[in-house]
């Protein structure tokens, strides 16, 4: 059974739909990617699963079963208890995710106290071990420092240390390396990979970067306009991209491994050129393969292991 099983998740802010029926699952000890561009609903999906969306003005429906328990219908207090211990999250901006006026050490021991009941010297010792594990040199000294005294990469390591403090079974990372330089990004990705391998933690990786996906993820879900349009193992997805959107994304990225004069094949238009999923394929206005069936009602998810949402896929490949 999957560790996390999200089914028909829908999130609307007022009358704006952000997530429009997302299904995916995360297995124990695996890295699952949610990939898409801004506005595709990937971040909102993760916030909904974590129960971090504001209550006012937001409607959430569908289910997100974590070991059989639907997180979306849990009372707030139960969800709060699970957050940090069963599921933890790492955000894109490490500076605003840390409290600027509290020492690093205190921010870590706070989590250890709340979820693991560790106090005093025991908590301090554990915090030191955690910092050591995420590769922060001289952890004892760092415990007494404030977030602004650390570099961006170090802050992200601290956030990861806090997230893994209670050995969560699911770690959600929302664009954890987007704000970082490429050499620091490599360090952080390596760290995440090691944590998953060593602890068997499941990782839900939210990113726009297909390179990061290729290096880290086992399964990939590509999102467009609030829905999964393609879902497969990473190897399969990159070898046989099926949905025109996935194909277009791959064609848009300049690659270091291809000849230098290889032309880019961008997707035309922008995410503003969109139609509602119930009228047809939301990607149709930007798609080169568009045909009659594309605007003929809701396109279904086709296939199982390598699923996609393109009604024209079979005919034009």
């Amino acid at each position: 059974m999957a560790l996390l099983e999200v089914e028909d998740l829908r999130v609307a802010f007022g009358d704006t739909t952000a997530v429009d029926g997302v299904d995916f699952h995360v297995d124990q000890g695996r890295v699952t990617g949610l990939v898409g561009e801004s506005g595709c609903g990937k971040s909102v999906t993760s916030l909904a699963v974590m129960g971090l969306l504001p209550r006012r003005g937001v409607t959430v429906s569908g289910t997100a079963r974590f070991e059989g328990v639907d997180l979306l219908s849990l009372p707030r207090a139960d969800m709060r208890r699970r957050r940090g211990s069963d599921l933890a999250m790492v955000f894109q901006d490490p500076l605003s995710s840390l409290n600027p006026v509290v020492q690093i050490g205190r921010q870590i021991t706070e989590v250890l106290e709340r979820h693991r009941g560790l106090r005093g010297e025991a908590a301090r010792k554990e915090a030191e071990d955690l910092l050591d594990r995420v590769g922060i040199p001289d952890p004892r000294r760092r415990l007494g420092e404030y977030p602004h005294q650390l570099s961006g990469g170090m802050r992200q390591r601290v956030l990861i240390a806090i997230a893994v403090a209670c050995a969560p079974r699911l770690l959600i990372a929302d664009e954890p390396t987007t704000a970082l330089d490429v050499t620091i990004q490599a360090q952080i990705l390596e760290l995440l990979k090691d944590l998953v391998d060593a602890e068997g933690t499941a990782l839900l990786m939210i990113t726009h970067d297909l390179g990061v996906v290729a290096g880290l993820c086992d399964e990939v879900n590509v999102l467009y306009s609030g829905r999964v349009v393609e879902s497969a193992s990473a190897r399969d997805l990159f070898a046989r991209p099926t949905h025109p959107y996935t194909v277009g994304l791959l064609g848009s990225i300049p690659r270091l491994d291809l000849p230098i004069d290889e032309p880019l094949e961008p997707i035309r238009g922008s995410i503003a050129d969109v139609i509602r999923w119930k009228d047809g394929c939301a990607f149709a206005p930007r798609c080169d393969r568009v045909a009659e069936p594309c605007v003929d009602g809701e396109p279904p998810l086709i296939g199982t292991a390598h699923a996609h949402r393109c009604v024209m896929a079979e005919e034009t490949v």
């Binding site: 503003a272 139609i275 509602r276 047809g280 206005p285 605007v295």
Partner: protein, 320 residues
């Protein structure tokens, strides 16, 4: 590709485009549209509109002349106990037998005049001072920096003086009159506007579009006037609305202290409040009417200002 299919696709896309285009137009127009949806803005606007209407039409809609002591005899007979609300005088009578309702209505004009003129004085002079300081500091080089420093230190000193004290000394200098109150309250607002506009302009001066204008070779004066200044006005306009509220209260306070218009013939809410003081224990309603009038008007402007602040706030703008 069949024609029918393309048509349907175009229709669907267009529907989406139309829905989004509801949010088009310049930023000012967008703010206005947002304000129309805010209950705070609507209630503020209704109060302010009512007040303005009364202030403008006062003499024509007042049932009686505000100075006529029609019921004088009645008042003097009862010594310090004045008739309260009754069918012919909705708000009752004052100590000279004048109709309070008419006096409130006619007095609104003076109050509005003081508030608006004082705010305009503060706004104009403050914007000039703050704008000059910011322009000098941003583009004036070394000397400009010094000019800015001198201006802003002077503003800091002025800010340190309690507003009422500043207004009082201006009023003392010019002698009691309506224009004294206007100038006094206006002058007291100058440093606030100056600081606010300078801060707002400095923030804009560091934005990318100003750098872009420099790189395009736009002359400095034009960068200040056509790029930085219009984009800095939002918070200042909001402040002006809020200042209108305090200006009305301050003007009332100055009138209350006897620095306002000495002419007893023109009713003014602050003076009315001062006059009512003597009868506070026997006829508190004489103080309550002008006080409530001042509070509600100030509230109206404050609501409007707060709603404007929200609708102009760039963080909220991003979300739409």
């Amino acid at each position: 590709m069949t024609l029918a299919k393309i048509e349907r696709l175009d229709r669907l896309v267009e529907a989406g485009v139309r829905a989004r285009h509801a949010e088009s137009g310049s930023l000012w127009r967008q703010s206005l549209r947002r304000m129309r949806r805010s209950p705070m803005a609507i209630s503020g606007a209704i109060i302010v509109a009512l007040f303005l209407l009364v202030a403008i039409l006062g003499p024509w809609i007042a049932p009686y002349s505000p100075t006529a002591q029609t019921w004088g005899g009645e008042v003097f007979l009862n010594r310090n106990v004045f008739p309260g609300p009754r069918p012919e005088n909705w708000f009752g009578l004052d100590h000279l037998g004048r109709d309070m309702f008419s006096r409130m209505i006619v007095g609104a004009r003076q109050t509005m005049l003081v508030g608006v003129v004082a705010t305009l004085i503060g706004f104009a002079a403050g914007a000039l001072v703050g704008g000059l300081a910011a322009a000098a500091g941003t583009f004036g080089g070394r000397w400009g920096g010094r000019v800015e420093a001198v201006i802003m230190r002077a503003v800091d000193v002025a800010l340190a003086i309690p507003m009422l004290l500043l207004a009082l000394s201006v009023a003392a200098l010019l002698g009691p009159s309506l224009s004294t109150v206007m100038i006094a309250v206006g002058v007291a607002q100058i440093p606030i506007f100056a600081r606010l506009l300078r801060g707002s302009m400095l923030a804009q001066a560091h934005s990318d579009y100003v750098l872009a204008a420099v790189s395009l070779g736009v002359p400095k004066h034009r960068i200040v006037l056509s790029h930085i200044f219009p984009n800095s006005l939002g918070p200042v306009i909001v402040q002006a609305t809020l200042v209108l509220a305090t200006a009305i209260i301050e003007a009332a306070a100055l009138s209350y202290l006897g620095l306002g218009n000495p002419d007893p013939g023109t009713p003014e809410w602050g003076t009315m409040l001062a006059d009512a003081q003597r009868f506070l224990s026997s006829a508190p309603q004489l103080a309550i009417y002008p006080a409530v009038g001042i509070i509600i008007t100030a509230l109206g402007f404050t609501l409007l200002g707060e709603a404007m602040r929200e609708s102009l706030d760039p963080r909220l703008r991003r979300q739409s």
